[in-house]
Each structure stands twice: as structure tokens, then as C-alpha cells.
């Protein structure tokens, strides 16, 4: 992971038995400091944290002891929240968050995931979507509102119908659900076509409704889609091939900058997340200019320019920006989360 850690290297090396990285020692021992200490750790079962009362680098947290249990079944987690046996739970399916919110017994706090968006990556090197008209056709055919309701139960922001490009990411592209425009583009490109849509089976709760609605919408404009669910272990291998014509994926960058997102997903360095295998020196130039911009004005103009570029090039059709939800009992306050989207225990408070 890219979150920086600070280790007590003297302690670690003293116990490492010769390994300069003390990997074996650090697997089961603590050589660091922070607001909380790990009291016990059972991998995949539970972690217990106790407050480090000697902590000097900030306000002492209110909560003395935090028990983090891994509960695999979302239904069980929801039951625990509703019965009041758990204080905080995250990672529930969107429908459960919506139900909890409607029931009103617990608080649901949600903000759109910073720098995160569900997108349909269209391969720009092989297959039918080499033709930019077909990529635009997919963007016009996408049933944005239906997808937002069916896949996220409204817990997100639609990426349809953007007007003027802004210095932000994600942001709506200028496309809306317009079958006539989509059909005209497919006909101009010499349709009909058939293709395959891939997604990670581990994300099926959200991705499957998107895929099914897309299949239905694309069939209407002459693109036949076969859906292929890829098992989690295989998904990385599959997208690394960069030969799949159509892939649904939710990528969220830990750093909240548009250029950072595009560097990973559309830049010529061709990282694994550039699923569309998009190669465009003009885009690279703009993204790099933003990454190393001398001042804000230069940064802003580069961002606006590359947004305009990908608005017409659409290597990826943004679908929606999901909400990062967490369920909290009413007496829990001070919730904040880290860029890795895990809650920060230091600020949590619990009333009586």
C-alpha cells in the first residue's frame, strides 16, 4: 500500500535476525507508534486496539478500546447494526444502506467517494471500440438514471449530462441517454457489432445490474453484448492482458487529483488500470503538464484541456460516482475517514 508507515527501525533491526527489512519480525510484532496500540490481532477474525495514553502527537482520542471484528456476511452486519450490537459498520451493499437510512434507527453518513467512479472501459487498441464513434455511441446509449437506481439504489451521483468542464474528477461527461444519437453513430461505423463485457465477480452486487442494463440498452442500438463475470483472483490477470473490448470497473484514486486519476487510467505509461489501453501523446502531454504545473493557473488550464479531450475521445465512459457510506449508531460522532477509506478511530466519539 502507498500509505506511509513509520517504524522504529532500531527495534525492528535488533530483532530481525539479520534481515535488513525485518520482515518476519514485523509480521507479528509492533515497532511503531500512534494514538492506538494493537492489543490483539487474529488475522481475518478480529483486531483489538487500546488507546495509547502516552501519545503526544495530537488530542487524546475519546475511545479507550476499539474492537474491529471481520464479519463476512453483510446481512449479519446489518442485523448487528439494527440491534445496536455494533457501533459502526461499513462496506454493506448499497441497498442495505438505503434501507437503514429509510428506517432511521441508525445514522448513515455518505459522501461521494473522492476520486472514485464506476466506468466502462472501451479498448482503444483492439476490437470494435478502436472506432471513436462506437465509444461515443456507448456513452450516448448508457441508461444513466436507471443504472443509478438499480445498481446503487440512488447512493451515488450520475455522470450524465455535464455542461462545461471543471477542474474536478470525477465529473459528468456531456453525454445523456439518447438512443437516436447512439444508433446513428453505430450505423455510421458500419454496425451491428457484437462484443463481450467483463467485470470482477467480487463486485457483482453493483456491477451485475449495470452490466445487464447496459446489455439491454446496447442491444437497442445494434451492439450485442455477452457478459463475462471474472472471478476475483483472475480479474487482475484479465485486465493486464489489455485485450478485452469492454470492462466495467470502479477505480478510486487515493489522492484526490484529476491528473492522478488519469495518470493511472488513461496515460501512456499504460498502468494495469489503463484498461482501455488508451495511448494518446496529446493526453500524456496535458496530464504531465498538470502533474508538474508551476502554478494553479497552469494546472487548471491543463486539467480543463484534458477533460475536454477525453470528453470526446471517451476511452472510458463514466457511469456514476458511488457514495462512500458508513452506518453509525446515533450516539457515535466524529466520523472521519482516511484516503484508504478506512475510518479514523482517533476522532470517533461515543455518547451515552
Amino acid at each position: 500500500m502507498t500509505i506511509p508507515f513509520v517504524f522504529d527501525s532500531e527495534l525492528a533491526i535488533k530483532n530481525s535476525g539479520g534481515d535488513p527489512f525485518a520482515k518476519e519480525y514485523l509480521k507479528n510484532n509492533i515497532a511503531g507508534g500512534g494514538a492506538y496500540k494493537v492489543e490483539s490481532w487474529k488475522p481475518g477474525v478480529e483486531t483489538i486496539y487500546v488507546r495509547n495514553d502516552a501519545w503526544k502527537s495530537g488530542k487524546l482520542p475519546q475511545l479507550r478500546r476499539i474492537i474491529a471484528r471481520d464479519i463476512a456476511s453483510p446481512s449479519t452486519r446489518r442485523a448487528l447494526m439494527e440491534r445496536g450490537d455494533a457501533d459502526v459498520s461499513y462496506g454493506l451493499p448499497p441497498k442495505d444502506f438505503k434501507d437503514l437510512l429509510d428506517a432511521g434507527k441508525v445514522n448513515v453518513v455518505g459522501v461521494p467517494i473522492p476520486n472514485g467512479v464506476w466506468g466502462c472501459y472501451l479498448n482503444t487498441q483492439v476490437g470494435p471500440f478502436k472506432d471513436v464513434r462506437l465509444r461515443q455511441a456507448v456513452a450516448w446509449a448508457m441508461p444513466y438514471d436507471k443504472i443509478l437506481q438499480a445498481s446503487l439504489f440512488g447512493r451515488g451521483v450520475s455522470m450524465a449530462g455535464g455542461t462545461t468542464p471543471k477542474v474536478a474528477w470525477p465529473q459528468p461527461f456531456p453525454y445523456t441517454h439518447d438512443v437516436a444519437k447512439a444508433k446513428a453513430l453505430v450505423d455510421a461505423a458500419g454496425g451491428p457489432f457484437s462484443t463481450t463485457l467483463y467485470f470482477d465477480a467480487g463486485n457483482a452486487t453493483v456491477a451485475e445490474p449495470i452490466a445487464v442494463l447496459m446489455k439491454e440498452a446496447l442491444a437497442a442500438i445494434g451492439i450485442t453484448v455477452e457478459i463475462n463475470k471474472v472471478p476475483g483472483a483472475n480479474f487482475r490477470t484479465e485486465i493486464a492482458k489489455k485485450t478485452n473490448p469492454m470492462v466495467l470497473n470502479r477505480f478510486a484514486g487515493w489522492l484526490d487529483y484529476p491528473d492522478y486519476y488519469l495518470f493511472w487510467t488513461m496515460h501512456g505509461n499504460n498502468s494495469i488500470f489503463n484498461i482501455a489501453a488508451y495511448q494518446n501523446p496529446a493526453l500524456d502531454k496535458l496530464v504531465d503538464a498538470a502533474r508538474f504545473a508551476p502554478d494553479k493557473a497552469a494546472y487548471d488550464s491543463s486539467v480543463i484541456d484534458f477533460i475536454k479531450l477525453i470528453n470526446s475521445e471517451v476511452p472510458m465512459v463514466p457511469i456514476n460516482q458511488p457514495t462512500h457510506d458508513v452506518a453509525l449508531q446515533k450516539n457515535i460522532g466524529g466520523y472521519q475517514f482516511q484516503p484508504c477509506r478506512e475510518p479514523d478511530f482517533r476522532y470517533l466519539t461515543k455518547g451515552v
Binding site: 500500500m1 502507498t2 509480521k27 507479528n28 487474529k42 488475522p43 481475518g44 477474525v45 478480529e46 474492537i67 471484528r69 471481520d70 464479519i71 463476512a72 456476511s73 446481512s75 449479519t76 442485523a79 448487528l80 439494527e82 440491534r83 450490537d85 455494533a86 467480487g202 472471478p231 476475483g232 483472483a233 483472475n234 487482475r236 490477470t237 493486464a240 493511472w264 498502468s271 494495469i272 488500470f273
Partner: protein, 337 residues
């Protein structure tokens, strides 16, 4: 007896060797690239190659196999990449949880299934026979995760009788010193009754879920086997000699009907031990089943191999135990063996 056990053990050696080879090969043909998975998203092809080299995955298969077997001979099942721990430590931590759950479920099922099966056979065609049929059909047709969720919903969510489905112990109870790893036994050993109660309460619903599922094969087998025995000549002779009904059924018929039932029990036990993944998921039970599935999702070879091997050895031991039990139940089997 010892001689028989020795002979039986000898015959299991080829099957264990077979299991080792098959698990090794199977995990290698699984889709998914371990090195790519663990190198992370930002990895360059060189970094992936480097990790592949460190894991020994760039060696030809026979070389990998030799190093696997030689480590195995030292009792080393390798290291899990997801938990970062030794597989033997992980399994030792999690196996007792699965064993306790499975044993409790099986005991629960037996305490209902055996009397029900016997009664159904004795009073064939009566309401109790029909009840037996309904219970067995219902038990086997309800998938375990569904029964589990239903029980959680009714007994925890609606009624509030059961504790929160949070694994083996309440969050605030502390684990007793580890002797057997079975919490019910360990708490009693140190006389910690509060923790015993907590562990027992946590165990009830998942055990019930498993029990309902395993009810069917045991009931049906008991019934069928009792029916066959009750029609046998020696039962007629016993009745003709004027023995009481209880004596005929309890002493003579039941004991003779036990052989196939014990075989079924063994099968059900070993099946439940590995297959209760879904129950483990619903009740957040830290068992071996969910461990193996998580490893599978991450294409983490070592835990999968360790899991399959452990299961195979358990099967072998279980079969041996059943064979010994045969001899206890029916001395004729011992003579032939």
C-alpha cells in the same frame, strides 16, 4: 486390534500421496497469477517477475514439487500470503473452531435423528414416520446459509434470545488458556463458567443450523437400517422367545442396525467439517472453511494445499476410527479384519 490399525494405516499411505500430488497440481492450474495479485496495482513487469522468483513460482513444476514435499516432510505447510502467518499456525488456530462447531451440530442432529429414525421404523406408516419424512426432506432442501440467516433473523433479530452472531465468544469475554482449542472444554478445565455460558450461547445457533442440515441423512439411514434389521430372523426369534419389545428393539435390533448409521455419521462429519463455509460466513465463525475460501479468492496456494491435506488426513483418521468402532459394535467384523 493394534495390528488391524497398523494394517489400515498402511493402506492409507497411497491415498495420502495421491492427495499431495493432486492438490499440488490443482493449485497450479487454478486461474489467476499469485505474483501479479501480490505485486499490487503499481507493479512493473520486473517487480512481478521478482516476486515470482521469490515465491519460487518461476521454477519448473517438478522442482517446485520437490521443494514442497521436502518442506512438508519437516511439517512445514508454507506461508499464507494473505494473513502473513505460517499455514500450520493458521490451521491450528482455526481447526478447533470448525471441529467444535461440527461436533456440536452432529451431536444435536444425532440426539434428534436417532430416536426419530428408530421410532419411524418401529411404527412404520404412522404419523411419526411421516414426520420423519417431512423433517428429513425439509432439512436437506433448506440450504445452510438460508437456515442460518433465518435463525439469526428469528432468534437474534426479532426475539433477541440468541447473542449477536459475532463468532465464538462475546466481544467482552476473554478466551480461556488454550488446551484443546475447543472453548467448551477449555473453559470447563479452568472452571470459568461465565465464559463457558458465553461460548455455549454463541455456539447454539450455528450448531442448530448444521444440525438441521445433517438431520436428513442420519434419520433416513437409521430408519432404513432399522427396518432391515427388524425384518431379520433373529428379531423374530427374539420376539418368539417372549423378550419384551424394549429389549428386542433396544438391545438386539438397534445394535445391529448401527453399522450403516456409523458409516453415515463419519461421512456427514467429514463433509460438514469442510463444507460449513456458509455457516461460518453467516455467524462470523473463524473456522477452516472460510479460511480456505478466502485463500482461494486470493489464489494463495499454500493455505489451500494445507487445507486439503488436513482434510484428507482427517478423513483417513475418521475412517480408521469408524473401522475400529465397527469392531466394537459387531465382533464379527473384527474377526474377519
Amino acid at each position: 486390534m493394534l495390528r488391524m490399525i497398523g494394517q489400515r494405516l498402511m493402506t492409507t499411505i497411497p491415498s495420502v500421496i495421491g492427495v499431495i500430488i493432486v492438490t499440488f497440481l490443482l493449485t497450479r492450474v487454478l486461474p489467476g497469477d499469485t505474483a501479479a495479485y501480490f505485486a499490487g496495482p503499481a507493479a512493473t513487469p520486473e517487480a512481478i517477475a521478482d516476486i515470482r522468483g521469490k515465491l519460487g513460482l518461476d521454477q519448473p513444476l517438478p522442482v517446485q514439487f520437490v521443494s514442497y514435499v521436502s518442506a512438508l516432510a519437516k511439517g512445514d505447510l508454507g506461508q499464507s500470503l494473505t494473513t502473513g502467518q505460517r499455514v500450520t499456525a493458521d490451521l491450528a488456530q482455526r481447526l478447533p473452531a470448525s471441529a467444535e462447531l461440527t461436533l456440536a451440530g452432529l451431536l444435536l442432529a444425532m440426539s434428534v435423528a436417532l430416536p426419530l429414525g428408530v421410532l419411524a421404523a418401529v411404527k412404520q406408516g404412522s404419523w411419526i414416520d411421516h414426520l420423519c419424512r417431512v423433517v428429513a426432506t425439509a432439512g436437506v432442501s433448506l440450504p445452510v446459509f438460508f437456515t442460518g440467516l433465518l435463525l439469526v433473523y428469528v432468534f437474534y433479530f426479532i426475539l433477541g434470545w440468541a447473542p449477536a452472531p459475532l463468532g465464538r465468544l462475546d466481544v467482552f469475554a476473554s478466551e480461556p488458556p488454550r488446551v484443546t482449542g475447543l472453548l467448551l472444554v477449555d473453559t470447563l478445565l479452568v472452571g470459568d463458567f461465565a465464559t463457558f455460558r458465553s461460548a455455549f450461547a454463541q455456539l447454539m445457533l450455528p450448531a442448530l443450523t448444521l444440525g438441521i442440515f445433517s438431520l436428513a441423512p442420519i434419520t433416513r439411514m437409521t430408519r432404513a437400517s432399522m427396518l432391515a434389521v427388524l425384518g431379520a430372523d433373529f428379531v423374530r426369534t427374539a420376539r418368539a422367545s417372549g423378550l419384551t419389545n424394549g429389549k428386542v428393539i433396544g438391545t438386539y435390533a438397534f445394535r445391529n442396525a448401527m453399522l450403516p448409521v456409523v458409516t453415515t455419521l463419519g461421512m456427514v462429519f467429514s463433509f460438514l467439517l469442510g463444507a460449513n463455509v456458509l455457516v461460518e460466513k453467516v455467524f462470523a465463525w473463524p473456522g477452516v472453511g472460510s479460511y480456505a475460501v478466502e485463500a482461494l479468492i486470493a489464489s494463495d496456494y499454500a493455505p489451500i494445499q494445507g487445507f486439503v491435506l488436513t482434510m484428507a488426513i482427517l478423513y483417513v483418521l475418521l475412517n480408521l476410527m469408524i473401522d475400529v468402532l465397527y469392531g466394537v459394535i459387531d465382533p464379527r467384523v473384527r474377526l474377519e479384519g
